[in-house]
């Protein structure tokens, strides 16, 4: 399981990769919380394009980070094409607080900007 963080203007991109379960969520949660707290992250794209497997631990991870980001009035979007992962996220009602989109362009639009000229 991997995590890569990038910044594009005011948007933070969190690229997750590999298998996301209870075990792999532990170090990822720590790393994300450090970045979110340090930069007061307000606009986030969680990119699931390279996630090969996810169970319900992913729901906890996302909703927990959302709560942190929402404290600063932030917004999150999930970029995910996998039908299985989307189904699991929807079972956890994640889409009620974070839109789930299939393209980067849509993700930036949901955050109120574009990929080349972010907010």
């Amino acid at each position: 399981m991997g995590l890569e963080c990038k910044k594009n203007g005011t948007v933070f991109l969190f690229y997750l990769s590999g298998e996301l379960d209870h075990h792999s969520c532990i170090p990822i949660r720590e790393e994300l919380d450090k970045v979110i707290c340090h930069y007061h992250v307000k606009r986030v794209i969680f990119d699931f394009s390279a996630v090969s497997f996810m169970d319900s631990a992913g729901i906890g991870l996302l909703l927990g980070r959302y709560r942190e980001i929402a404290k600063f009035g932030g917004k999150c979007v999930i970029l995910c094409e996998s039908e299985k992962i989307k189904k699991i996220l929807q079972m956890g009602s994640v889409q009620l607080v974070m839109p789930i989109v299939e393209t980067k362009q849509e993700a930036y639009e949901k955050l109120g900007g574009t990929e080349n000229g972010t907010i």
């Binding site: 379960d21 209870h22 497997f53 169970d55 906890g60 299985k84």
Partner: protein
């Protein structure tokens, strides 16, 4: 005694790194039936939830082993995940969607719901102080 085409028993200590091991083992066990990617993901997800439950809840206080027992008969895969942990006092409540005894650990409370959704059948047997056994089955499609 019912004859199975194949069986597999793996036992490992309740360490979270073994969640991945259990998924890989079940995937390999089902492979001769040539399941679809979707069927494999369903089984992997259900096993992951059951094993995580055993580790996080069954052995919340203390340590022990988790067993994953798989059987195959024709197109059906039977999976049993058991622990000798603390057991569940109220199975009905534990199986309610969104119920979790560990919200502070960011558990979504969807483990059993996911097992039920992704498998064809789910049975949970548990005794407080003795442990929990989760039995699941999935019939794989013949059309591939």
């Amino acid at each position: 005694m019912e004859q199975y085409d194949n069986t597999m028993l793996i036992r490992f200590p309740a360490k979270s790194e073994n969640e991945g091991l259990a998924r890989v083992a079940v995937t390999a066990f089902a492979a001769p039936l040539d399941p679809t990617v979707s069927e494999l993901t369903d089984m992997k997800t259900a096993v992951s939830e059951a094993v995580t439950n055993a580790i996080v809840h069954g052995y919340a206080k203390g340590t022990g082993d988790v067993e994953v027992f798989c059987q195959r008969k024709e197109e059906t895969i039977y999976i049993m995940v058991s622990d000798k942990g603390c057991g569940i006092s109220d199975i009905t409540q534990a199986m309610e969607p969104l119920y979790t005894s560990k919200p502070e650990q960011e558990r979504a409370g969807l483990g059993f719901t996911i097992m039920e959704t992704f498998m064809d059948s789910l049975e949970v047997e548990s005794k407080v102080g003795e442990g929990t056994c989760v039995k699941m089955a999935k019939k794989l499609s013949k059309l591939r």
